[in-house]
Amino acid sequence: MASVVSGTELMVRMGELATSAVVGEVLVTIGLGSCVGVALVDARRPIVGLAHVMLPESTGDADGHPVAKFADRGVPALAHAVTALGASRLEAVIVGGAQMFSFGGTDGANIGARNEAAVREQLDRLGIPIRAAATGGRKGRTVRVHVQGARVTVREVAGVEQELYGRGTL
C-alpha cells in the first residue's frame, strides 16, 4: 500500500488500495481505463476505502503482485481494510472498466467489462450493495472519494468533476 500523499489527496495507484477515516482526506485514482476503481463507504460514518483493480482474477501465484491488482483478492482485501477501520454497513460505488481499444484478441478487448463483472461478483458475494456506477464506454476516468459525506466524484479527460454519490451529511 505504497500510497503517496499530496496535500489531503492520497493517490491510489494501479493495484493499490487505501482507506481513510480522516475528514478532509480524499482518495484519488487517476486515469482509470480498463481498470476499475472500487469505492467502499460506510453508510453512516466517515470511513471510506478505494481499490484500483487491474484484472479480474489471479491466475497463478499471487506473490509479487500488489494486493488490489486482481478483483478476486482486491475487493475482499478492501472490505477487510475498511472494516478494520470500524466500518460496519458497507456500500459500494464503482468506476471505470472502459474499453479503450478493440485490439488485444478475445481477452484483451474486453478486460474492462470482465473487470467490472468480476468486481460486481465479489461485491455480491460479500453482500455489499452498489449504490452508483460509472462504468463501460470508451473513455478514461478519474475518481475521487471524499471521506466527508462519502462523496464520490468522477471526471473524464478535459471534462468537469461530476458527483456520482454522496450522503449530503457527515
Binding site: R13, M14, G15, E16, I30, G31, L32, G33, S34, C35, M54, L55, T59, G60, G64, H65, P66, K69, A98, M100, F101, S102, F103, G104, D107, G108, I111, G112, R138, K139, G140, R141, T142, V157, A158
Partner: protein
C-alpha cells in the same frame, strides 16, 4: 520479479536509440523539418510506475497504439500532447482537432511505429508484424494502463523503452514507447547474444 543486468538494459536502450533514430528520419522526411531524438531510456518498472513513465497520468494526449505480433509481442505507443498535436497538424497542412487531423496523426503513428519496428527486426533478424493502429484521445494514464493490462496477468513488471522526438524550432515533441512482453524481451536479448 525478473531482473535485467545493466548490460542488457544498455543493449535495449541502444535498440531504442536506433529504432527512434529511424522513426525520427521518417518524421523529418514527412515534415521537411529537422527532428532531434532525446536520449532514450530502457527501464524495467513495476506496472504502477510504468504508467507514470510518460509523465503526468492525468494529462490529456492523443495516443496512437500499434500492436506488434510475430517473433515477439509488443505494443508501440506514440503520445501527442494537445499543443504538439496542433503544431504537427499545422505542419502537415491539416486542421487540428478534426477527423482529418485525427487520421493524419494515426497515419504518422503508423509510419513512425513501422520504421521503428522494422529497424528492430533488421538488427535482430526477427520477423515482426505491426497491426493497424488505433488512435484515442484520453488521459495518458488511462491509455497506458489499458495497454499494460493486456499482458499483466503473470507479471507485475513492464519493460519501458521510451524516447522523445523533437521537431526542431517548432516546440513540437512526441513520446514514443515500446512495451514488449517479457517473453519478447527475452527473445530480443537472445538475438543480441545477451540472454
Amino acid at each position: 520479479m525478473t531482473h535485467y543486468t545493466d548490460m542488457q538494459l544498455d543493449a535495449l536502450r541502444e535498440l531504442a536509440n536506433i529504432g527512434s533514430g529511424n522513426a525520427g528520419t521518417a518524421l523529418s522526411a514527412m515534415l521537411g523539418q529537422p527532428v532531434d531524438i532525446s536520449v532514450p531510456a530502457a527501464q524495467a518498472l513495476p506496472l504502477a510506475n510504468a504508467v507514470e513513465a510518460a509523465g503526468d497520468p492525468e494529462s490529456p494526449a492523443t495516443g496512437v497504439v500499434l500492436p506488434i505480433f510475430g517473433d515477439i509481442d509488443a505494443t508501440v505507443v506514440l503520445l501527442f500532447p494537445p499543443e504538439d498535436e496542433a503544431t504537427l497538424c499545422t505542419l502537415l497542412g491539416v486542421q487540428p482537432g478534426t477527423e482529418e487531423g485525427h487520421s493524419a496523426l494515426g497515419e504518422i503513428g503508423n509510419i513512425l511505429g513501422c520504421s521503428y519496428v522494422n529497424s528492430l527486426a533488421e538488427m535482430t533478424g526477427l520477423t515482426i508484424e505491426p497491426r493497424p493502429p488505433e488512435t484515442v484521445a484520453d488521459m495518458v494514464g488511462a491509455i497506458l494502463a489499458s495497454v499494460l493490462a493486456v499482458r499483466a496477468d503473470s507479471t507485475n513488471l513492464a519493460l519501458v523503452m521510451d524516447s522523445r522526438l523533437i521537431v526542431e524550432n517548432q516546440e513540437c515533441e512526441l513520446t514514443f514507447l515500446l512495451l514488449p512482453s517479457l517473453q519478447g524481451i527475452d527473445e530480443l536479448l537472445r538475438r543480441l547474444g545477451l540472454a
